[in-house]
Amino acid sequence: MTDRIFVLGPLSAKPYNFPDANWICTTGQAEDAIAKTDKPARRWMLGEPTATLFASTPARSTSLHLVALEPVAPHRLPLLHHLFKSVIAGAELLELSELLDVVDSNRRRDLFIGGVVDLDDEVLLLYRGDFTSVLVPLAWFEPRPTVGSPDWGRFQITDFGQTLRMGEYEAAADAILYDFDPVFRREAKKRLLEKDDSFGGALRRLRLQRELRRSDFPPLTAKEVARIERGEVQKPRINTLLTLANRLGVEPEQIAEY
C-alpha cells in the first residue's frame, strides 16, 4: 500500500477531475482523516491550505506526505513541514490523474511527479513518486543538434513521470536516474537481457553517456582506452583509473557501476 497523500487545492473550485478521492473541507474532517492513517483509505484531497485546518493536529505525522496543487503562502510552509513527513509545494507537477497513479504504482521510485527549476543556482529539483528528491544541474541537459537548449520557462513532466519536457526538448527520466542514483543504476543493470558486466563495458557505456571520444583522455591514447574497453587490460593501473575517472567526473571505483 502506498503512503497516504494529502493534496491541497481550492475546495470551492474543485478543478481537479479525480473522482476517486474524498474531499476534506472542515477541521473535523482533517482530524478524522489524520487519525485514520492506519486505516485502509489511502488518500484525501484537501481544501484550501489554511492553518486552521491543521491547528488541532497534535503532532507531526510519520507517514503522511503532502503535495500542494496550488501555491502555498510562504508563512504557512513551516507549519506544513511540521505536520507532514514531506511537503512538495511550489513545484510544477505531473497531471493529477497521472500523479495519483504513479504514487500508487510499484514503480513510483523510478518516476517523477514534480520539479522545481532554480535558475539562480542552475539546478532542477525533481520529486519522485515515493516523495524522495533528486538534484540535477541544469548543465546536465546539454544542447542537442536538433533542438538546441532546454526552455526552462516551459518545464513540464509528462508520460506518467517518464519524460521531462522543456519546450521542444525532452529528457528521459531513466537517463537522469541512471546518472544520479546509484541504486537505480544497479537495478537497471539487473534488468538487462544481455549483460556485459565487464569493466570495459562499463567504461564504454559511461564514456558514451558523457559524449566523450577515446581520444579525450590524455595522456592516455585512444588505443589504450580501446584496449581497456575491449578487456585486453585485465587490471588498469591506478594512474590510468584516475585519469579516466577525472575526465568522466566520477570516483575510480564508480566506473564499474555503469
Binding site: 497513479d101 504513479v102 504504482s105 514503480r107 518516476l111 541537459f141 546539454e142 542537442r144 543538434p145 536538433t146 533542438v147 508520460d159 506518467f160 513521470g161 517518464q162 519524460t163 521542444e168 526538448y169 525532452e170 529528457a171 528521459a172 531513466d174 537517463a175 541512471y178 537497471a188 534488468r191 538487462l192 537481457l193 544481455e194 564504454r204 557505456r205 558514451l208 553517456q209 559524449e211 571520444r213 577515446r214 581520444s215 585512444a222 582506452v225 580501446a226 574497453e229 575491449r230
Partner: protein, 94 residues
C-alpha cells in the same frame, strides 16, 4: 525536439508511444516504447528489446510491427539526434 513514431489510432488510444527523446541513456542507440508507467527500450543495433522487466511480451504486436516496419526511419532519427553515437558505429571506432 523528440521524435515520436506515428502509430495507429488504436495503438495511440491504448496509450502506446514510441519515442526517441533529446536526452536518453546513450548506449546503445534505442527507441523507447512507453505505455502509462511502463517503458521498454528497443535496441536499434540488434532490433531486440533490452530489458527483462517489464517483459517484452507485454508490448503489443502492433507496436512491435511498427518498430520493425519503421526501423530505417528510427535509425535515421537517432543518428540525426545523436551523431556522436550512430547506430551503425563500429564497436571499436574513434
Amino acid at each position: 525536439m523528440p521524435y515520436e513514431l506515428p502509430l495507429s489510432s488504436r495503438a495511440r488510444a491504448q496509450g502506446w508511444k514510441v519515442k526517441i527523446r533529446d536526452k536518453e541513456r546513450l548506449e546503445p542507440p534505442h527507441a523507447t516504447v512507453l505505455r502509462r508507467m511502463d517503458s521498454w527500450r528497443w535496441n536499434l543495433r540488434t532490433r531486440t528489446f533490452m530489458d527483462a522487466d517489464p517483459h517484452p511480451r507485454e508490448v503489443s504486436d502492433e507496436v512491435w510491427e511498427a518498430l520493425n516496419d519503421q526501423y530505417e526511419l528510427l535509425c535515421t532519427q537517432w543518428d540525426s539526434m545523436y551523431p556522436e553515437n550512430p547506430v551503425n558505429a563500429e564497436q571499436d571506432d574513434d
